[in-house]
């Protein structure tokens, strides 16, 4: 009555082999089998811990799965009658002890390793040479990230940071907003941006470059579009950018206005205000400063299902002026 076992075993072994082959191919470029190439000491600490756990876990995995395969092949019924009993063994205290102690030792080793790595992951190194860490405030909004530098410069979605210098991030979300989570995979782990709560994390990018990231906590319809990134510049270039932005942002700054439009408004209303999730915006609306301020500050509850969050309740006057300036230059001539 029992059908032969071999074809099915072959199938399973074949699939496992195929998976291994796939794994091998993908592993050639890491391929997602470990954290993406870390570029900051904390991300390196996490990646090292990951590989340490992997080494132990892989051993247990191979042990259990190979025992399973061997037992199934070796002890399958073959020609024995169905009711032929195996040896009536009820247990073994010595074995129970062994497979309690074994995992305890492995977990102990993991805990010790992780705790040893922990200071390097959570403590930002001192940077006396470059004048201490740079502190940036990171505020998650539906559906954009706002960054504020110590001198008041504001940036949207794209953070700029100097290479080689620790950057400490104060991460939060406004009281009227929802939870978000700040995550740049190559620059360390994630930390939630929670309304009413200030969290801190840090990174020190070794090399200039662009490091992508995204919001990692469901925050609404455009969660998937809450992309962000850190552009790491050589210290001199960074300083130059920061001073330029500082003087520009004292009054209406079309460059900041453009960032605001693209990061805050266009995700729902379209780059050309053609509408999308949010309604089409007429040029007359976009250039009516008072009406615009009301909507930006308070949001709008539309009948039906869409609600516009109060995206700019905490914006400075200069921010609003920058947006007006950009909008008037971009849409004013048409109206």
């Amino acid at each position: 009555m029992t059908p032969p076992v071999r074809p099915r075993l072959l199938l399973i072994i074949g699939v496992l082999a195929a998976l291994l082959a796939l794994a091998g191919a993908a592993a050639a470029g890491n391929g997602g089998f470990g954290p993406t190439s870390p570029a900051s000491p904390n991300a390196e600490g996490i990646a090292t811990s990951f590989w340490f756990v992997t080494a132990l876990v892989l051993g247990v995995f191979l042990l259990v799965e190979s025992l399973l395969v061997v037992f199934v092949v070796r002890f399958r019924r073959r020609k024995r009658p169905r009711d032929a009993d195996g040896p009536q063994i009820h247990g073994s205290n010595r074995l129970e002890l062994a497979w309690t102690a074994g995992p305890v030792l492995i977990l102990f080793a993991i805990a010790v390793f992780v705790f040893a790595k922990l200071p390097g992951i959570i403590d930002s190194p001192d940077a006396t040479a470059s004048g201490g860490p740079l502190r940036i405030e990171v505020v998650g909004h539906q559906f954009y990230w706002q960054f504020r530098y110590p001198n008041g410069v504001i940036a949207i979605d794209r953070m700029r940071a100097p290479a080689g210098r620790p950057v400490v991030l104060d991460v939060t979300a406004p009281d009227w907003d929802v939870n978000h989570s700040w995550w740049i995979p190559r620059l360390g782990g994630k930390i939630d941006a929670i309304p009413g709560r200030m969290n801190t994390t840090w990174f020190r990018a070794n090399e200039p470059g662009f490091y992508e990231g995204r919001c990692a906590e469901l925050c609404g319809a455009f969660h998937a579009k809450m992309l962000t990134g850190v552009e790491v510049l050589p210290q001199a270039d960074f300083d130059e950018w920061l001073t330029t932005a500082f003087s520009a942002q004292h009054q209406a700054d079309p460059a900041l206005g453009r960032e605001l439009w693209e990061g805050v408004c266009a995700k729902c209303h379209g780059l050309a205000a053609e509408g999308g999730y949010g309604p089409t915006l007429a040029a007359a609306t976009l250039t009516n400063r008072d009406a615009l301020e009301t909507v930006i500050r308070n949001g709008r509850a539309l009948p039906g299902r869409n609600v516009m969050p109060s995206v700019g309740r905490d914006w400075t006057a200069a921010q609003l002026q920058s947006l007006y300036a950009y909008l008037e230059a971009e849409f004013g001539s048409q109206g």
């Binding site: 876990v57 002890f75 399958r76 009711d83 063994i89 309690t100 993991i110 709560r197 990692a216």
Partner: protein
């Protein structure tokens, strides 16, 4: 037909649970395929951000609350009185009440798709402030459906506990109880202890939603704390994971010995590890909250206790392996699902270690790595065990076998499809793909792994169709006798299907395997 509507027979109520939960499994499965279609390639627009969030929320909620837990309640209902040699549950009418509340909750849940503003769309965890600010009535109906369900489960849990404590047949001491009954005992206690936390949290959520400005629990603008909700939710939510896996482990502990022709290796160790897992599961909840910025001393505590749970879990796995050792393995469909459970659950257990180590969790939290992890535990674990259990007990429930050929085909499709779907999701998470995003623009490996995952999900879909075909065909399937698998436990002592009163007589129980004892003494007597 009408007699099913007013039945208080635990066997019929159990079957009603299974059938209803089966419908929700199909619904939630279709939602899962929608997710995989949307994510198959970059920048697709099969679903919008809002409708994707609805689909994700309803898929998760349905699978947890309306599929896995009620299926286990159904199996428990059918099996517990039979396995302990009782005539019915302690409170048959309360039992029917539980089922009908579950059905009512299910109807509210299913109809909430048509609510003003659509269904709930803030994830199965419904974190505020998002869930408080979310417009429309879908979220309110979601809360109502879960309120109904918690009352149903609480009544069911009390019923199980009273039944197991008081109605075991003569001779069945605690250490002679079937391991499935042990698992249901712990399942019921966990439900009883943690469901009130969920009810309370949801009630606060509802009040804050419906009376804005009056109540200030979770939204910081009004002086509340979003993190408080997460504590309340996960105080329930983590034990919920074990509520879904422990009875599945109980099923495995029933199938493996019978199909190996051996007693369960380390019966006491398996039973006590179930209790230990149940206890520990209530003090590990904040490992779901490592990224909210708790103190690292707290994080360290929750990391260590989460790792401690791995010890009794590992014990179970090794005891099961030892049960196979030197056995006479009949590789029928239930056994294949049990073997599949062992191989898949091991992966899910091991990937949990990464999540318990909080600095590593900071990297993989809320990514597809987590999605892969809990599907390895809940689909490859719980649902594989459940499907194996259905193949095992189907002859007892209906007196006929499910087709072995279709059963093995179901297993092959689900096993391969499952691994093809979910293994690449580990890699997606490590590559930086967060969960619950409705689209992405990355090509390369993101696109490749997502496509592979989608292909796998459709293989699983075919597997489910084959399983349904097996069920449809079982009406004319091979007839089963009282004890077709040569089982160990009392349900195999009565007829298939059992009569309304279950047993005419019940033999005195002298071990955890009364039927195996009975067969041996019959053999000895005939040899004389």
């Amino acid at each position: 037909m009408a007699s099913w509507l007013v039945t208080v027979d635990h066997k019929r109520i159990g079957i009603l649970y299974l059938a209803t939960a089966g419908l929700f499994f199909l619904l939630a499965g279709v939602l899962a395929l929608l997710i995989r279609i949307q994510l198959a390639r970059p920048d697709q627009s099969v679903l919008t951000g809002d409708s994707y969030n609805e689909v994700v929320t309803m898929h998760g909620t349905a699978m947890v609350f309306f599929v896995v837990v009620p299926i286990l309640a159904g199996l428990g209902n059918f099996l517990v009185p039979l396995q302990i040699g009782a005539r019915d549950m302690a409170f048959p009418r309360l039992n029917a009440f539980s089922y009908w509340l579950f059905a009512a909750g299910g109807i509210v849940f299913a109809l909430s798709f048509f609510a003003q503003g659509g269904a709930a769309r803030t994830g199965w965890t419904a974190y505020p402030p998002l869930s408080v600010l979310s417009p429309g009535n879908g979220q309110d109906l979601w809360i109502l459906s879960l309120h109904l369900l918690t009352v149903s489960s609480l009544a069911g849990a009390i019923n199980f506990i009273v039944t197991i404590h008081n109605m075991r047949t003569a001779g069945m001491s605690w250490m002679r109880m079937p391991l499935f009954v042990w698992a249901i005992e712990v399942y019921a206690w966990l439900l009883l202890l943690v469901l009130p936390a969920l009810s309370a949290g949801l009630t606060l959520l509802l009040l804050e939603r419906r009376f804005p400005g009056t109540f200030h629990f979770f939204v910081p603008e009004d002086g509340g704390s979003p993190v408080l909700y997460q504590h309340v939710f996960w105080f329930f939510g983590h034990p919920e994971v074990y509520i879904m896996i422990l009875p599945a482990m109980g099923i495995i502990s029933e199938i493996l010995p019978v199909f190996s022709r051996k007693p369960a290796f380390g019966y006491k160790a398996i039973a006590l590890s179930t209790v230990a897992i149940g206890c520990f599961s209530m003090i590990v909840w904040a490992h779901h909250m490592f990224t909210v910025g708790l103190s690292n001393y707290l994080n360290a505590w929750f990391m260590v206790v989460s790792m401690v749970i791995a010890v009794p879990t590992g014990m179970k796995i090794f005891n099961w392996l030892a049960t196979l050792w030197r056995g006479n393995l009949s590789l029928d469909t239930p056994m294949w699902f049990a073997i599949g459970f062992l191989s898949i659950f091991t992966v899910g257990g091991l990937s949990g270690i990464y999540l318990a180590a909080f600095p590593i969790d900071w990297q993989v939290h809320d990514t597809y790595f987590v999605v892969a992890h809990f599907h390895y535990v809940l689909f490859g674990g719980s649902l594989f065990a459940i499907i194996g259990g259905l193949f095992y007990w189907w002859p007892k429930m209906f007196g006929r076998f499910l087709s072995e050929r279709l059963g093995k085909l179901t297993f092959a499709l689900l096993f391969v499809g499952f691994n093809v779907t979910f293994f690449p999701q580990h890699m997606l998470g490590l590559l930086g793909m967060p969960r619950r995003i409705y689209t992405y623009s990355e090509g390369g490996l993101w696109q490749a792994y997502n496509m592979v995952s989608t292909v796998g999900s459709f293989l699983m879909g075919v597997g489910v169709l084959v399983f349904m075909l097996a069920i449809a065909r079982s009406r004319t399937g091979r007839r089963a006798g009282n004890d077709p698998w040569l089982g160990d436990t009392l349900e195999w002592y009565t007829t298939s299907p059992p009569p309304p009163h279950n047993f005419d007589t019940v033999p005195y129980v002298t071990s955890a395997r009364p039927l195996s004892d009975l067969r041996r003494s019959l053999k000895e007597r005939s040899a004389l």
